[in-house]
Amino acid sequence: MIRDELARLIQDGYNALGELEFAESSHGYFLYHSADRNLLNETRVYHSIEDARKIAKYDSAGAYRPLKGAPNLPRGWRIELTNVDELKKALDSFYPGALGSWLAYQNGKARPICLRQTLNRQTGMYRVTRKLTDEQAQNLVQEACRSDGRCLRTILWGIEDSRPPDFLPSSKFDPTVDQTGQKRAALPFLCLEACNLLVAAARNTMKKSSR
């Protein structure tokens, strides 16, 4: 089970995911923002998965965070959890699907889907994104997905099938690189396929280019 895999990974020394860090304690596990690493005594303590979901919903200025991978989680909290199952669920609240997708990828049960394939199956208001040129796509992904300020996921898909996203910095498609730049023992946080936010951004690109 995913929770057992997580327990094994923690035993192996992994202690981070995205902006989060976690550790075992005498009562179970605790989870916090990595920027609060040296300020844990000053953080507000929470205990539930619902708290994790609420914290992940807004940034420090109270603005809604539609993209969970964005490096703008609020600080000043820590969540104490009694067992690894709760830790797994809390991580899923902050970064939905991150653990499951990485394990599925590792086990050969999931593979990256190239951007063309994602865009070519769009219908309705997003059908227009099928016309995105390679150059437009590369510019868009370089800007909308960059780890510095936009999204901490490691991109494994390219524009076309079987071609890596070599228009990005090599660190952005290397799962062993901590995208926060802290060189922690971070669990890979993979992007196996363009998200709806990127598809929506591609639609905006098409709308602008048709004006």
Binding site: K57, Y64, K68, D92, P96, G97, I113, N196
Partner: protein, 275 residues
């Protein structure tokens, strides 16, 4: 509800990149179903939020998976987007040793009539029904005609009860339009109930503008200090605006009934090992 403790449940919501309240009803009902301990695991997934429909099945660990769209009607999302994104071939999909059971949208549940009537009474508790028009507002879309049919069918069912002087349907994106409510309703009181899951972008921000009770889209429901005050006096009429039905606690039961209906319709002839 039969024992589903060997099964997994995925609730699918629309979600929003703009409105933080859009996903709330889906999480609310998932939490309630988790609290009842009926399934081995319960996940939410969204078209416009995470986990996405593309990613959620990587989270699911069981082999017997129910997918229930927390959508108000059959239509573009339930017939095109969700099956495409989850790579479903029909009500039952076998893949990689798993069975994925794709249920009807929760809005097909017969409880919806009562939920709409309940919301209407909540919004306008003391109006004389014989002098009141009830307007059921759906999305309506040129992408799929079933979206409009759902609101029409609810309006017809409520009309059949003979409670209100008139019961009409109206839509955001097709005729009869919400914005024409003054022309299309005849009574001094008008109660408007959005046939939507969430108090999200459409029901809380767009429809009030179309009705003329707000001049511009307001903040999300959860970001407002004061909820709307009924009634709104407009052109000598009293208009009452209700919130969406999706946060009604009974929606969790509607989800469970939707699963039972799926089993009766699709699995009655198949042996299954649910104890």
């Amino acid at each position: 509800m039969p024992n589903k403790r060997k099964s997994s449940l995925v609730l699918v919501g629309h979600g929003s990149t703009l409105n933080p309240d859009s996903s709330a009803p889906t999480f609310q009902h998932a939490d309630e179903i988790v609290r009842r301990g009926l399934f081995a695991e319960v996940y939410c997934s969204f078209w416009k939020e995470e986990p996405s429909l593309r990613e959620v099945l990587h989270m699911v660990e069981g082999d017997d998976i129910y997918v229930v769209p927390n959508f108000i009607s059959e239509g573009y999302f339930t017939e095109t987007v969700i099956p495409r994104e989850l790579e479903l071939v029909g009500p039952i999909t076998y893949r990689s040793g798993k069975i994925i059971k794709y249920c009807e949208p929760v809005g097909n549940d017969p409880r919806m009539v009562d939920l709409l009537l309940h919301r209407a009474r909540e919004a306008a508790a003391n109006v004389p029904l014989e002098k009141t028009s009830l307007l059921i507002v759906g999305h309506g879309t040129s992408l799929n005609e079933k979206s409009a049919e759902a609101a029409e069918s609810q309006a017809r069912a409520i009309r059949g009860k003979g409670l209100y002087a008139e019961v009409l349907q109206a839509y955001m994106e097709e005729a009869p339009f919400v914005a024409d409510w003054r022309k299309n309703t005849s009574q001094p009181n008008v109660v408007v109930v959005p046939f939507f899951i969430a108090d999200g972008l459409h029901s809380y921000q767009d429809i009030p503008v179309l009705l003329g009770i707000e001049s511009a889209p307001t903040l999300a429901a959860s970001q407002q200090e004061v909820f709307r005050r009924n009634p709104y006096l407009l052109d000598g009429r009293a208009l009452y605006y209700a919130s969406a039905i999706g946060t009604e606690p009974l929606m969790a039961d509607a989800i469970l009934d939707t699963i039972e209906r799926f089993d009766r319709k699709h699995l009655s002839t198949q042996p299954h090992d649910q104890g």
